[in-house]
């Protein structure tokens, strides 16, 4: 399997971008030949959905016409009856969907293929096999898993495609509470969607001024930017079949091209990191989780 191509996938947009920004972003992405698959859909907050569903539907058409595989992603923490209806509709449809909350399984026709997203708690081969019996064809493992752990899981689940969270701020937590609203002294129910001010999340620092986290509405992300710069042979050996890049500001096309080059062995891990830094990531590069260490750590390729 050493020769099989590693797919490059663009994860769902986690931030509350304007309709124009979304349209421009996916228009550019559609022209990008280095990209195989694009996930679309509001994963973080159902309140954003009415504002972005139009632009995302247009993006889906454009991406599909450009030959990309489009996969719709469900909300991760449904909070209202409307959120639940949205998940039900998406799950009941025929197309490939990414499931980010167990709720969706209640509506998914048994055996209909789906992707298990990183916000589901699938940590081991036994749990992954449970999903496979229900139609799971691909797993993007929880970001806490080390590469050796992913390798063990993949080895015990033949036929399951593994997509690694390879670039972007790490999605660390979800809450019933909206921190963007809380910072502004607003209540979640009248939040005025203030999360639109921070296209990569709102910086959270320690009292000493050390950069640490980023909040994105009800979601908390890392300040550091995951960059899976491990030797490509190690990724292949662990069963990785796809690399997921999470949308951020900065030059995403450059990030996509860098990962394509890296996946094809044209860029070394060091070159990958250098290219990613040049693309203007929203924080320093991190990869600790993949090495079984604190997620915030950065162990440069040797």
């Amino acid at each position: 399997m050493s020769g099989a191509a590693i797919e490059i996938a663009l994860g769902p947009l986690l931030f509350n971008w304007s309709a124009e920004r979304i349209a421009d972003f996916y228009a550019a992405v559609a022209e990008e030949s280095d990209l195989d698959r694009v996930y679309l859909g509001e994963v973080v907050c159902g309140k954003r959905e009415p504002f972005i569903s139009g632009p995302l539907a247009e993006a889906a058409d454009r991406l599909a016409r450009a030959g990309k595989t489009v996969v719709w992603s469900t909300l991760a923490l449904p909070a209202t009856p409307r959120d639940r209806r949205g998940i039900a509709q998406m799950a009941a449809g025929e197309g490939l969907v990414e499931i980010n909350d167990i709720s969706a399984l209640a509506h998914r026709p048994l055996g209909a293929p789906f992707v298990a997203g990183p916000l589901l708690n699938i940590y081991n081969e036994a749990a992954a096999r449970e999903l496979m019996t229900r139609g799971c064809v691909r797993l993007c493992p929880n970001v806490e898993l080390s590469l050796p752990a992913i390798g063990r899981l993949a080895q015990a689940c033949p036929g399951l495609e593994i997509e690694l969270f390879a670039y972007g701020r790490l999605p660390l937590a979800l809450s019933g509470r909206c921190y963007h609203a809380r910072v502004q002294g607003l209540h979640k129910d009248s939040c005025q969607l203030v999360c639109d001010r921070d296209p990569d999340g709102l910086a959270v620092r320690t009292l000493e001024g050390q950069d640490f986290l980023a909040v994105n509405g009800v979601q908390t992300l890392s300040h550091g930017v995951q960059t899976a710069d491990l030797p490509i042979a190690d990724l292949r050996a662990a069963g990785i079949g796809a690399l997921r890049l999470s949308p951020h500001t900065g030059d995403m096309l450059k990030v996509i091209a860098a990962f394509r080059g890296f996946s094809q062995g044209r860029l070394s891990p060091q070159d990958l990191a250098a290219q990613v830094r040049e693309a203007g990531p929203p924080g320093p590069l991190v990869n600790g989780y993949l090495h079984g260490r604190a997620g915030v750590d950065w162990a440069p390729a040797s």
């Binding site: 399984l105 699938i122 081969e125 790490l170 660390l172 937590a173 019933g176 129910d189 600790g288 997620g295």
Partner: protein, 330 residues
């Protein structure tokens, strides 16, 4: 409307006895390893202690619920299966599970063993609960602490599965089991190892009375001389955003929903749960007695008000909140 079951924590056999003597209907506990979500040093039960504890509890008409509620390690699932087997051998009345793989094993291997869905599974919708009930025969769900009381009432109406809700103790501000803040700073996943903000990654410096807790080197807070300080859990820390320092995620409060017991009872909540297996027998004796008295008062048609002051001083950081049960929390 039946009585609500009072479910109390037991970090040791001594604490289990204290909880039951103080009026707990059920206690929950775990084995001394990574398979339960309170894997702190010196805490929990050996398989032999668990067996003896179950016998002791059953003699007194109390139930023992065994938490096997962390997520199994890739390549190491057998340890979680062994814990399920130990709980079954000990005669546990139910096991509390979150991991799909562990649920599947328990359902297949121990069909007579009652399954409760752990709060760590964060099943907060009727659909998610229905999935676990249909796929694994789950009989009870412990609700995530992000739902408001009216939402719980609506949920109970939509499900046949028994509902258990936390009413007292440490409050997770994030959806339980879906939080990696601690591992981002320390490398140890609470979901996998059963320890959030692990003590070996905590440091405390005190200079001129100013206490500085750190987790994995990150400053979590600075506590003025004499001011109350909580265990340095990341989500209860103070951080800076938009130029202002605050308890951004959650104030260092702990949950006390005693005043909402009547509402939860009307909503059809079947059991209420006290957090705090790590807090010892003095704590559980006091909290169990207070909630026993309050629940008995409800059964007599009286108010819980006289019992609400009984727990003053036990709260983390000295402050209490009704948390997400009141929608204003959001």
């Amino acid at each position: 409307m039946g009585s609500i079951e009072l479910v109390c924590p037991a970090g040791s056999p001594a604490m289990l006895r204290a909880a039951i003597e103080a009026g707990a209907d059920s206690v929950y506990c775990g084995l001394r390893d990574e398979t339960n979500a309170r894997n702190f040093p010196g805490l929990n039960f050996s398989p032999a202690e668990m067996k003896a504890a179950v016998a002791w509890a059953h003699d007194r008409g109390a139930k023992v619920l065994v938490a096997v509620n962390t997520f199994a390690r890739a390549g190491g699932v057998d340890a979680w299966r062994a814990s399920v087997d130990s709980a079954a051998v000990a005669g546990a009345d139910a096991i509390i599970v979150a991991d799909l793989g562990v649920l599947a094993y328990a359902h297949a291997q121990h069909p007579g063993l009652r399954l409760h869905l752990s709060v760590q599974a964060a099943a907060g919708t009727a659909e998610a609960i229905a999935f676990y009930a249909q796929a694994y025969g789950v009989k009870r769900v412990v609700l995530p602490r992000v739902l408001s009381a009216p939402e719980i009432a609506a949920l109970v109406r939509q499900t046949d599965v028994e509902v258990e809700a936390f009413v007292y103790g440490g409050l997770c501000v994030m959806a339980e089991g879906r939080c990696a803040l601690s591992s981002y700073a320390t490398g140890k996943s609470p979901n996998l190892t059963g320890v959030c903000s692990p003590p070996d990654s905590v440091s405390l410096e005190e200079t001129d009375g100013l206490l500085t807790p750190r987790l994995g080197g990150f400053m979590i807070d600075q506590v003025a001389p004499g001011a109350a300080a909580g265990y340095p859990t990341l989500c209860k820390g103070r951080f800076e955003a938009e130029g202002t320092a605050s308890h951004l995620f959650e104030d260092p409060t702990s949950l006390n929903a005693m005043a909402l017991l009547a509402e939860l009872r009307t909503a059809g909540v079947r059991a209420v749960k006290i957090e705090g297996r790590q807090r010892g027998k003095a704590y559980v004796a006091r909290v169990a007695a207070a909630f026993r008295a309050a629940l008995d008062a409800l059964d007599r048609g009286e108010t819980t008000a006289p019992y609400e002051a009984r727990l003053t001083g036990l709260a983390e950081g000295g402050r209490e909140t009704a948390g997400a049960y009141r929608k204003t929390w959001r």
